[in-house]
């Protein structure tokens, strides 16, 4: 399944310093795209990630109250909601995109959440392939 299963992570540049290598234990391809602030992540970025092959998209921003730009990550959460609605309309499970609030400057928390999300999506994918 390596490389046939891609997860894209869209996140703020300042939330954490994790790199692809930190997620190397996961099978498949992990793309990390960073933005100046998670509030800058648009619904179009999420949809584009799917078009470019992602089976799921994780959006990560600083925990509420810790965003350097005040409400950036809360905006990101709204965009995720918007993207879910569109995905549903075009027949993709909305669970394939999720917002995660991660502890600022704590790569461990980010990596842990990314791995958990990966597992969740992987089981969704396997279930679907089995059908």
């Amino acid at each position: 399944m390596k490389n046939s299963f891609q997860i894209t992570i869209l996140c703020c540049n300042y939330t954490n310093l994790a790199e692809r290598e930190d997620l190397a234990s996961l099978l498949g391809k992990i793309e990390i795209k960073r933005y100046p602030c998670s509030g800058h992540i648009e619904i179009t970025d999420i949809l584009r990630a799917f078009k470019e092959g992602a089976k799921a998209v994780m959006v990560a921003g600083c925990s509420k109250g810790t965003c350097h730009n005040q409400k950036g990550s809360e905006r990101a959460e709204k965009r995720v909601l918007g993207a879910k609605k569109i995905l549903e309309e075009i027949g993709i499970e909305p669970e394939r995109v999720e917002m995660f609030y991660v502890s600022r400057l704590d790569s461990g928390d980010f990596v842990e959440k990314a791995k958990a999300f990966y597992q969740r999506v992987l089981s969704l994918e396997l279930k679907e392939r089995a059908q």
Binding site: I43, T44, L47, K51, I86, I90
Partner: protein, 226 residues
Amino acid sequence: MIIAERRPIPEILQNIEGYEKVLVLGCRGCVAVCSAGGDREVAILAEALRLARTLSGKPLEVLEATFIRQCDPEYLEPLKKYKGEVEAVVSLACGVGVNLIADLYPEMRVYPGVDTSFYGANLSLGEWVEKCRGCGDCIIDKTAGLCPIARCAKNLLNGPCGGSQGGRCEVRKEMPCIWHEIVERMKRRGELEKLMEIWEPKDWRPAGGDGLRVRIRDDLRLNGGN
């Protein structure tokens, strides 16, 4: 302003099923302000259409543009350059824009990307509420500035109906009874007796009962309107 809402994407996809190249065309007027058809919504719909068609194995090329307005021939001029370039246009303007494109560019296939809903006010972020129905014969000089045609579920001219309770409408409890509010306001103004006056029957012709509504102002027209 005119309030609109994006149509369900499956319906839009169905409309453009046979095409390989389309233009998603936004409008920077009302639909941009009500977040249904401005630049941002154009980008989102275009991306959603590309994704859906990629997944279905029939990739779609989508061009994006947003005009200042679509309800004015002058601002629709740039559409000419898309003639022959795209097979269809999905317009995110209100129905006025879509109709005008259909009138002016009969050879173009144009499809509505939004449902045009009502004339409303933007009360808070993400909340729009109807205030006027464009009846063409305004009566709110008599009703303390509150429109019973748009805001009374039964469009009554002599409310409140018997169902209003505690200031709420019987049709949907979350709606205030506008006639209750009209009466309260007129009372506070000391003008309640004005509501006792018998009104002339309302002229519904300007509301569309007389066919297509047209407004001509000769004082603004030059060269017969051209």
